[in-house]
């Protein structure tokens, strides 16, 4: 008399309110779709939380909400993004990412087939980043109360002994290193927005950076002050934040900043500055000048740091300006963007 668990009809079915109401339908969706995609021993235990062993030391925790539109974009989808983004925020602390948790908020009517593709991408992204999605939660809201799917991903990681990357650590004279070309993710997303629609071969750079970080830490050790991934708001926002927190300024060389021609062209078309455009697979590292060369070499030796560049230095500045010598020979400030109407890029 045991009800045989019929598989969710992934090909034709879609999420309805019953999948969020704590009943059997929800449990079937979770085990039939998410556990399948993330499959690991922790999820299999079916608890509302998962336990793991840690050695004594310093851990980091982070969380990000992912609301990118469209959900599928050139170079990835919200699922891979939701792993990469959180893994990267952990990695930016110099930490080794360990475990993730994911909260899904789903609009009724969302197709199982899309959900499966997204969950599979998450599973694959997690696997290749060496992390496990050990716990999660699923909510379903009425049609018109969400935009298909939102994912919030939290994560924890282990910080190597003695490391404490933080935005206030930059010192005057430090070098600013960037791991590759800027603006790829934002341009890839914008190319798919109905009112902007343009064709480009640019794809999102969305990728997990923890391995690159590990190589950099090996090369630069405590000479690395801090790292950050220039996501929303782009390099401009990231450096302005660091300048504020560390109470200094930055002086950049525009010529040194790598930007793909397609990204530059799309930005010209839209009236944007690539320095304000989001990245999901790049990092900025502020490093002491004596290790900058070694760290840059380590970056360039890694596939994700092939285009890495030393783009400037930290300077004393009680206005905390980020300045840039333009390729043309002048100088200007690199400011935050001012609430522009950019699409939802992460």
């Amino acid at each position: 008399m045991k009800a045989h668990r019929r598989k969710v009809d992934i090909k034709h079915g879609c999420v309805d309110l019953s999948h969020g109401s704590g009943g059997r339908a929800m449990s079937q969706l979770i085990s039939g779709l998410f556990h399948e995609a993330f499959g690991n021993e922790w999820l299999a235990r079916g608890n509302d939380q998962s336990a793991f062993d840690v050695g004594a030391g310093r851990m980091v925790m982070t969380i990000d909400g992912y609301v990118v539109s469209p959900l599928f974009f050139p170079g990835g989808n919200i699922g891979s993004l939701a792993v990469h983004g959180t893994v990267n925020d952990i990695a930016m602390a110099g930490a080794r990412p360990l475990y993730l948790s994911a909260s899904f908020i789903i609009e009724e009517g969302f197709r199982f087939s899309d959900l499966k593709m997204i969950a599979d991408s998450m599973g694959q992204a997690a696997q290749s980043a060496g992390v496990h999605i050990i716990t999660g939660d699923t909510k379903v809201v009425e049609r018109g109360k969400a935009d298909g799917l939102f994912i919030s991903t939290a994560g924890v990681g282990l910080v190597p002994e003695g490391f404490d990357f933080s935005a206030e650590n930059a010192r005057v004279g430090d070098r600013v290193l960037i791991s590759g070309t800027l603006g790829d993710h934002g341009v890839a997303i914008m190319s798919k927005r109905q009112n902007l629609a343009f064709e480009t071969e640019i794809v999102s750079d969305s990728v997990a950076l923890h391995d690159l970080v590990a190589r950099m830490v090996a090369a630069g050790g405590h000479g690395i002050r801090l790292m950050r991934d220039p996501t929303r708001g782009g390099l401009a926002a990231t450096l302005n934040e660091i300048a504020q927190q560390s109470e200094l300024g930055f002086s950049l060389q525009q010529e040194a900043i790598p930007v793909k021609p397609g990204v530059a062209a799309a930005c010209e078309l839209l009236g944007l500055d690539p320095l304000n455009v989001a990245n999901e697979g790049k990092l900025v590292a502020i490093v002491s000048p004596d290790v900058a060369g070694a760290v840059l070499a380590a970056m360039r030796a890694h596939p994700l740091g092939r285009d890495a560049a030393d783009i400037g230095e930290a300077v004393p500045d009680d206005h905390h300006f980020v300045q840039m010598a333009t390729s043309f020979g002048g100088a200007r400030i690199v400011d935050w963007l001012s609430g522009e109407q950019l699409p939802r890029i992460c």
């Binding site: 839209l270 300045q323 390729s327 043309f328 200007r332 400011d335 109407q341």
Partner: protein, 380 residues
């Protein structure tokens, strides 16, 4: 980017800078107004100010259609967007422009008004076709460059017999505003700018040609160079202006000969003439009422005129009295001369028109150039 990258060459730029420095007479000031916000933006973006000698000074003019839009027109657009049946289509630049009491289309949208950013008038037509149950209003702004696309769209709407489409027209004209700056009757209160020449906007002249500027050379004795927007274009134009001043010439020269002719684009001009006619006067933020400076739809196209369709009443809002935009747009003052600059007034919370778009004089200085104020302070 062909026709862009080669005009951003640093070596040639440094050469032109040296030429300007060598030809400019250190004994006299050269005060050139770049009328157009696009030029203001280019100057800031490439840091051109650093490349000019101190006595060659660029004065940022009122040529940003976003900045000069009076708060009352924004309030009118907000009222329109708040109507439940209306979808207001706007160029993204307009979203943050302040109306009265801190209102903006961005905030109106957050509070429920249906405001859609469009990249092109083509999108507004598409939205109208997709939403027959709504009234689609296109919030048209811009100088002569941007007017032909609006005209084309109205012609399309007519051809497609769209009955749910109209235009809230705020198109303005360059020459009357330049004239207003030169002959402003309220000189006493604001002061008159000392201007030796104009950098004219090439994109406007692509449409209207260089002809309409001849009056400034002939009647007002000002040097005019129609210039492109790449940094080399601007450096060359400045050099050409320095030479005109040195040689006591006041002519209209065309630096952007690769796209600008004396007569402009006849098709574009015809489209505009077919559909629009001059308003008696139009209000500009910072400049006040400027005679014959705005366009409206001709009587025959009244059914596409949102001001008529929705019986929109004219709203007037006094500008913030502390705001020095009027003087700045005339070249009499600089952004830092305004006591609100950078404290109360920033691009996040613009108090005046010049802080609104990145092409505004105050916004451009804040976003790209304010580090120079400190250098100046240190120097002094």
């Amino acid at each position: 980017m062909k026709y862009a990258d080669e005009f951003r060459d640093k070596a040639i730029g440094l050469g032109l800078a040296r030429a300007i420095r060598s030809e400019a007479d250190p004994q006299r000031p050269y005060r050139f107004m770049e009328f157009c916000g696009g030029h203001t933006h280019a100057i800031s973006r490439y840091g051109l100010e650093d490349m000019l000698p101190k006595n060659v000074r660029m004065i940022h003019g009122p040529g940003c259609p976003v900045c000069v839009l009076p708060a009352g027109r924004i309030d009118m657009a907000i009222r329109l967007a708040e109507r439940p049946e209306v979808i207001l289509c706007v160029y993204g630049d307009l979203m943050r422009v302040p109306g009265s009491q801190g209102a903006s289309l961005l905030k109106a949208k957050a509070r429920g008004a249906d405001v859609r950013m469009v990249y092109s008038t083509v999108d507004a037509i598409r939205i109208a076709e997709e939403s027959p149950e709504h009234e689609i209003v296109f919030f048209a702004i811009g100088f002569e460059t941007t007017t032909p696309p609006t005209a084309v769209m109205i012609r399309h709407a007519e051809k497609k017999q769209l009955e749910n489409f109209s235009v809230f027209c705020n198109h303005v004209l360059t020459p009357p505003a330049m004239q207003k700056i030169l002959e402003s009757p309220d000189i006493r209160s604001i002061g008159r700018a000392e201007i030796d020449g104009f950098v004219g906007p090439a994109h406007v002249s692509i449409v209207i040609g260089t002809g309409p500027y001849e009056v400034f050379a002939e009647e007002f004795g000002k040097s005019v160079v129609i210039s492109g927007f790449e940094p080399l274009d601007m450096m060359q134009a400045i050099l050409m202006l320095v030479r005109q001043v040195n040689e006591h010439r006041s002519e209209v020269e065309n630096q952007y000969s690769r796209a600008v002719t004396r007569g402009g684009n006849p098709r574009a001009k015809e489209e505009v003439c077919d559909i629009f006619e001059l308003r008696d006067a139009f209000e500009w933020r910072g400049l006040g009422l400027v005679p014959h400076s705005g366009l409206k739809l001709k009587q025959t196209y009244a059914r596409f005129d949102a001001e008529i369709c929705f019986s929109m009443s004219e709203l007037r809002v006094a500008d913030n009295p502390a705001c020095e935009c009027g003087a700045i747009l005339r070249g009499v003052k600089k952004p830092v001369d305004c006591e609100l600059f950078g404290t109360v007034c920033t691009p996040e919370t613009p108090m005046g028109s010049c802080m609104v778009s990145s092409e505004g004089a105050c916004a451009a200085h804040w976003t790209y150039g304010r580090f120079r104020d400190r250098q100046r302070k240190r120097a002094s």
